[in-house]
Symmetry: C2
Subunit: 134 residues, 2 copies
DNA sequence: CAGTATCCCTCATGATACTG
DNA sequence: CAGTATCATGAGGGATACTG
C-alpha cells in the first residue's frame, strides 16, 4: 500500500513541523499578540493600572469569559499583575509588568507598518478584485 | 424586559466594536501576520523566488489547500507576485513584491522580541504553574 | 506540476446563567 | 464587583480524491 504509506509520511512530517513550530519563540509570540484581545488589553493598560470593570468598559465587545481568560493568560505569561483588594465589593487591579511594558514598542511597530502600508494593501486588493471580476 | 434589553445593548456594542476593529489597520495587519502560514511563506520567500513545490517542501506540514489559499491571499494583498510559465508541466514562481519585502524587518522585530523575552515568559509560566499547583 | 473540490471535524468563541 | 460553569455554534483547517 504505497498510498497509505505516503500519507503517513506526510502526516508525520506535519506533526513534526507542528512540534517544531510550537517550540519556536517567534511563533509563540505571534500566537499571543495575534489574539484579538491581547493587544487591546495590553494597549488599554499602557495608560496605567485598570480595574476589571474599567477594562470591560474600555474594550467594548469583549465577553466576561474572554476578558477573564485573556487576563489570566497574560498574568501567567508575566505580562501583567493582578492585584486583589479585599473589600466589599472586591476590587481587582491589573497592571503591566516591565515585561508587558516592553511589548508596547513592538505593538507600536506593528501599528506603524499598518498605518504606513495598509492603504497599499487595500489598493492591491481593489486591483486584484477588479481584474478577477472581468 | 430590562434583561433582554440589556443583553441587546451589549450585543450591539459588541457588533459595533467588531466593525470598528475590522476597520483598524493594525488589527488587519495582525490578522494577516498571525496566520500560521503567512509568516512562514513570507520568510521562505525572503531568499528569493520560489516555485510552488519548493515552498511545499520548505514548509513541511502545510497542506496543499492552505498553501494555495495563503498564497492567493498574499497575492491579493500585493505582498507577492505569481508568475505562471506555460510549459509541460506548468511552472509557477512566487516572489515578494517590494511591499512584501518591507514586511521582513517587521517580522525580524517580532523575532527579536521573541528571542529576547520569551524565556522570561517561559519562566513566568513556570512560576505561575508551580504556585497554582500548591 | 500546480492546483481544485469536497467532506469532515475540532476547537475557539460567545451567550447565558449563576456565585462568593 | 469580579468572576465561574455550562452549553451551543460556526468557521477554519486538514484529509482525500480528482484535474488541466
Amino acid at each position: 500500500m504505497p498510498t497509505r504509506a505516503a500519507a503517513e509520511v506526510r502526516q508525520d512530517a506535519a506533526r513534526a513541523y507542528d512540534a517544531y513550530l510550537a517550540s519556536c519563540p517567534a511563533r509563540q509570540l505571534l500566537d499571543r499578540i495575534s489574539d484579538k484581545w491581547v493587544t487591546l488589553i495590553v494597549s488599554a493598560l499602557a495608560d496605567g493600572p485598570q480595574r476589571y470593570s474599567d477594562l470591560a468598559r474600555r474594550i467594548a465587545g469583549v465577553s466576561q469569559k474572554m476578558l477573564t481568560q485573556t487576563l489570566r493568560l497574560l498574568e501567567r505569561d508575566g505580562l501583567l499583575t493582578r492585584q486583589v483588594t479585599a473589600a466589599v465589593p472586591v476590587r481587582v487591579d491589573y497592571e503591566l509588568t516591565p515585561l508587558g511594558v516592553s511589548l508596547l514598542p513592538l505593538i507600536a511597530c506593528i501599528k506603524d507598518w499598518a498605518e504606513t502600508h495598509m492603504d497599499e494593501v487595500a489598493a492591491a486588493r481593489d486591483v486584484y478584485d477588479t481584474v478577477a471580476a472581468q
